[in-house]
């Protein structure tokens, strides 16, 4: 009874989450950010540049994977619960007779859905524009980076969603994590590759299009299981935390 009711509630919570995430001014800014790879693809097309590796590292890796993906994921991932905690409306969600894991699953699906849509679409449009000069290899690279965006969205959003249940400053901490761990340290220290979402997503992308070994350090057969483990651990942790969730300022 509880189980079926919880499952039945998921689509509605997803719908509410989508409305909460998208109806803000920041969505416009994120759309602009997602437009940057497209803009660069137009520049490449205008120059009739046929350098697949240059397009892949300069646009798809440097802008889409390094910048667009973590920023979109940190904003949507922390806002899925963060906005409800801030407004206090999470009370109405938790008071319903719905299992907490179902709430986590629904919030996760909503946030992952928007993140994936925005990032994968950005890479797809950019790749399609640049398809003319690049040809078949360009299509392979585009597919690879679409896979990277998919894996990266699932990984980042899971981590940030969980983080937002443990601290109210999740957005700042997530930003520092993206800049320091994923940005600076994962390029300086190769050993971090096994613990970096960026490397997981690039590793999966390797299955579609082989990248330079110092760019994507993991093989697809290592990266995908690691990413799945990360998502499962993060979501179990989130559900566990939500079961013990105390509303801020609930003592008075």
């Amino acid at each position: 009874m509880m189980f079926t009711r919880s499952v039945a509630a998921i689509p509605l919570i997803v719908q509410i989450t989508l409305r909460q995430l998208l109806g803000r001014r920041r969505t416009v800014l994120l759309l602009l950010l997602a437009g940057v790879p497209v803009l660069l693809a137009i520049v490449f097309r205008a120059a009739n540049d046929a350098d697949v590796a240059g397009f892949a590292t300069g646009v798809l890796d440097a802008v889409a994977v390094t910048l667009l993906l973590p920023i979109v994921a940190v904003l949507f991932g922390t806002a899925a619960f963060g906005a409800e905690i801030e407004d206090g409306t999470i009370l109405y969600l938790l008071a319903k007779p719905i299992s907490r894991w179902a709430v986590v699953a629904a919030k996760y699906l909503g946030a992952v859905g928007v993140t994936t849509l925005l990032t994968v679409a950005s890479v797809l449009v950019a790749g399609a524009i640049e398809m003319g000069p690049l040809g078949e290899e360009g299509a392979a690279a585009t597919r690879a980076f679409m896979a990277a965006m998919l894996v990266g969205s699932f990984g980042y959003v899971a981590v940030f969603l969980t983080l937002s249940l443990f601290t109210r400053r999740a957005l700042l901490i997530g930003l520092v994590y993206v800049l320091v761990w994923e940005g600076a340290l994962s390029t300086l220290l190769p050993g971090i590759a096994n613990l970096s979402i960026r490397q997981f997503s690039l590793g999966v992308a390797n299955a579609f299009w082989q990248m330079a070994p110092d760019e994507a350090r993991l093989t697809p057969s290592t990266a995908l299981p690691l990413a799945i483990i990360l998502v499962v651990v993060a979501l179990v942790l989130a559900a566990w935390k939500l079961m013990r969730f105390e509303l801020p300022g609930g003592t008075d």
């Binding site: 660069l40 300069g58 646009v59 910048l67 400053r169 957005l171």
Partner: protein
Amino acid sequence: MSATARTAPAGNIYDLGYRHYEGKRHGRWYAVWSLYVEGMRGVWGFGRPMTAKAAPFILTGLYALPALIQLAFSSIISQSIATGEASARDIATYSDYFAAASFFMVLFLVAQAPELVCRDQRYHVLPLYFTRALGRADYAFARLAALTTAVFMALMVPMIALFIGDILMKPDTLKAIGDEWPRALPSIPASALGALSLSSIALALSSFSPRRAYAAVGLVAYFLLMGIVPDVIFQVGRHAGWDWADKLMTLNPTGAISAAADWFSGAPLVTTGRDGGLPATLGADAYVLAVVVSIVVFTAVLLFRYRRMPA
């Protein structure tokens, strides 16, 4: 009505009839000065808990770390240069320091610029400022001056460390000061220009969000995009033979500031390098111009934002 109109310019302490104020009234400029001092203390976290001091001091320390290491090992470095183990070109100089360590300075701005302008909007204290003798432009300029001074101080820490280190490397201290002084001096105007440029960008962008975290995300996005996008377009344009693409390189704030530092010190621009370097077609004066234009534009944006902001 006429009574309030007559007394309004003289003072900004409202006498509601409960408690009278007989003391000295310092007026508008004293209010601006107070806001400036308070802003400076806020950037460095003075008068706040230790957690507020952590970010500015740690990031300044990380920014200055290479120079401090060079200072600490200056005697060993001078020995290895003398024996030929190290080349004099390997050590950091005043004009190329910012380019190498600017990541931490950008983080400093991402952490501290929202501190100055976001909280006042979020907790609705701006009306309290604006109903005093302080105008909206005064508020914006006081905040900008506070952040610029703080960033300038942070930028000067490694310059002073390099100066002391270079003197200690020489056998004759007094003569070394005389030799080193003209080379170190250009770093002062270069740092001032860089501080004003970075601060105007960071404050103007931060002022659009009342939430510090969102402002920080916006700043990160702006600085990273401006570091990548012009460079990518320039590299593409170089292969395609576009002669306009080189001018885009002046849009990168940190790149333009470090090239402007070369203009002040007279050092040649690095036009070759691992990543291709700066375009050879642009002189250092183009970057100085770009930095000045960016200061004017972002200060105008900041003033515009505060003019239109609902208090």
